[in-house]
Amino acid sequence: MPAGVPGGPRAPYRSPLLPPLDPAAAAVELADVSFAYDARMILKGITMVIPRGKVVAIMGSSGSGKTTILRLIGGQLKPLSGSIRVAGQSVPDLDRDALYELRRKFGMLFQFGALFTDMDVFENIAFPLREHTSLPEELVRDLVLMKLNAVGLRGAAGLMPSELSGGMARRVALARAIALDPMLVMYDEPFAGLDPISLGVVGQLIRRLNQALGITSVIVTHDVYESLKIVDYLYFVSEGRIVAAGTPAEVRASSDPFVRQFIDGEEDGPVPFHYPASSYREALFSDAG
Amino acid sequence: MSRSTLDLWVGIFVTIGLGAILFLALKVGNLLTVGNTPGYRLEANFDNIGGLKVRAPVKAAGVVVGRVEDIRLDPKMYVAVVNMRIDQAYTFSKDSIAAINTSGLLGEQYVSVDSGGDTTMLKDGDRIAHTQSAVVIEKLISQFLFDKASAPPAGAKP
């Protein structure tokens, strides 16, 4: 257990900031969800269940619709069809106030952090605390330092986001995402663009915080190596559909061609190398114009 | 930038901004001179007010003693009824003459009041009985031509 993070393995930490939740409900359930942007179908009939307290990865190549799933869960987008339930509530049907109520129980880590550039690290993490609670400043200060300590950056409290490296910014954003002790944390490409050490640090933090705080984590990523190390379950998305799913052990042993291409990093397979084009011979030997 | 420094600068900005507005109102404009100085109302009827406008000055011996407040047409008598507000400090006799003059050759028109010899003074709401209308250039010219035409000419053609 990292120093400064409360809670134990038996009774997951339940923050006094939140009302109690129904322990039987799955954290997130998507049933036959479809989504289109302009005329393009991005998601075609996605069904997935994310159990409480687990770390689940949604993997797929770029542009497969993974981030769209996160935005649908968070209520930033409305699906064309299908249902999305978080803690038993149907997200697309919530009105604005109820949606904002629900979002207070979320934490989201954006790609590259999305820290507020006009505030320093401390202010960034204090932001959700100040906005949603009326805790006195001393308590806010203590909570912020606790969160920073959990991600190992207590000494960086006075820095501005522009002074942080990529890995540090990601960790600060993580501390901000858990500031209100959420029940669900979503990670959008948390491993993108990090050096191997930072990769390891972020991966371990995601796992440890999940255990310590008893939260549910959804990771959208295409980093196979790190994901297999830390997740409980994986979903593979390609062209708007779920093509494979399983635990890390099942996935490693899978003979599904898509999973194999993904894991082994093959350049050609179910996901083709060539972008659709006319015949090569025709393109080379035809008249120009 | 600490919050108190920010507040200080914004406070300075708002103060000098409002100060600029005040300066414009008082020094550049006429906010104070068109004040609510205590005064009384006088009325005067003119056949022709010429170019007299509301808020034109009322002068006696060239000194501003009041302002024109209202100009109406009397629908029965077809004369212009001019309402003026005169400064409390100045009083005029009942036989004063109100005339419409022009300041300079092409300047704006104003009402001049010449006090007479009567010992009774005009009170609030009184009407100045003797008035002199504005000079209308066209009438002046046609009068001049008429006089010129009717006077015996010295060797001029008929």
């Binding site: 999305a114 959700p128 | 600029a20 507005i21 109102a25 404009g29």
Partner: protein, 269 residues
């Protein structure tokens, strides 16, 4: 081929019609946005320090350019004005000319144009950048409405700063006119100020000038926050939004100035 030419002309007309409809749709979008901002404004004033911060960035930081420009505009008005007035023997009316030009028109309009290019573009760039780096999304996901926290304070910062900035511009202009007219050219100071005072009416000229600057402030601030909020979240998106803010604000100021002038100064004394 005649069919081709007809098609081309038809396409051109269709394009013009489409952009006209697009402009009107954008105007409607901006109006709805204005209402949304007003609805969320109480939040901006409950956290007054946010709005004060924006008044600093919009107003205080524009002071240098406003004061210097005001001074120069006033001085040029006096120089040019003297040149014309002296031909008709009315050189003492220079104060009237400078003051009325500034208070009625130059103050609100020129200050508005300068404000749009300095503060307006900065606001658009800031909000656009926050959108491109997902800061606005992050705020939404943290259940904080970016309209109340980011947009409304900047809008009100602009609206509050504009009239103050226009008044400061006019004041510096009058002072510049005084420097050139009285100190440089040698017009009598008494006539300069005296004639000015009797010709400039508080209600007709100064209040109308203030009303103009408030209207311009609303227009510029709305355009600035609107362009930033709905910019494309890329580098070119932000830069083209910034340019659009300056161009559209300037056109809006000049068009509104015409409309307001017609209503305010119809049949002046």
């Amino acid at each position: 081929m005649p069919a081709d030419a007809l098609g081309m002309v038809g396409n051109r007309i269709r394009a013009i019609g489409a952009s006209a409809i697009g402009a009107i749709a954008r105007l409607g979008h901006a109006s709805r946005f204005l209402i949304a901002i007003l609805v969320h404004s109480p939040g901006a004033f409950r956290r007054l320090h946010l709005t004060i911060r924006e008044i600093y960035f919009a107003g205080v930081l524009s002071l240098v350019i406003i004061l210097v420009s005001g001074l120069f505009v006033g001085m040029v008005l006096a120089l040019q004005g003297y040149d014309v007035l002296v031909r008709y023997g009315s050189a003492e009316s220079l104060g009237v000319l400078v003051a009325l030009s500034l208070v009625r028109e130059m103050g609100p309009v020129v200050a508005g144009l300068l404000f749009a290019s300095r503060a307006g573009s900065a606001i658009t760039a800031e909000i656009g950048l926050m959108k491109a780096t997902e800061q606005l999304s992050a705020m939404e996901m943290m259940a904080v409405d970016p309209l109340a926290r980011v947009v409304a304070p900047r809008f009100w910062g602009g609206v509050i700063s504009m009239p103050l900035v226009a008044a400061l511009f006019s004041t510096m202009g009058v002072y510049g006119g005084y420097l050139v007219g009285v100190r440089l050219i040698g017009i009598d100071a008494g006539s300069f100020w005296g004639q000015m005072q009797s010709a400039v009416d508080f209600r007709q000229d100064i209040v109308n000038g203030i009303i103009k600057s408030v209207v311009f402030g609303v227009a510029v601030s709305l355009i600035a926050v609107f362009e930033g909020y709905y910019s494309k979240p890329t580098a070119e998106g932000v830069s083209s939004a910034t340019t659009r803010t300056v161009v559209v604000s300037s056109l809006a100021i000049l068009a509104l100035d015409f409309v307001l002038t017609v209503f305010m100064f119809r049949g002046v004394r």
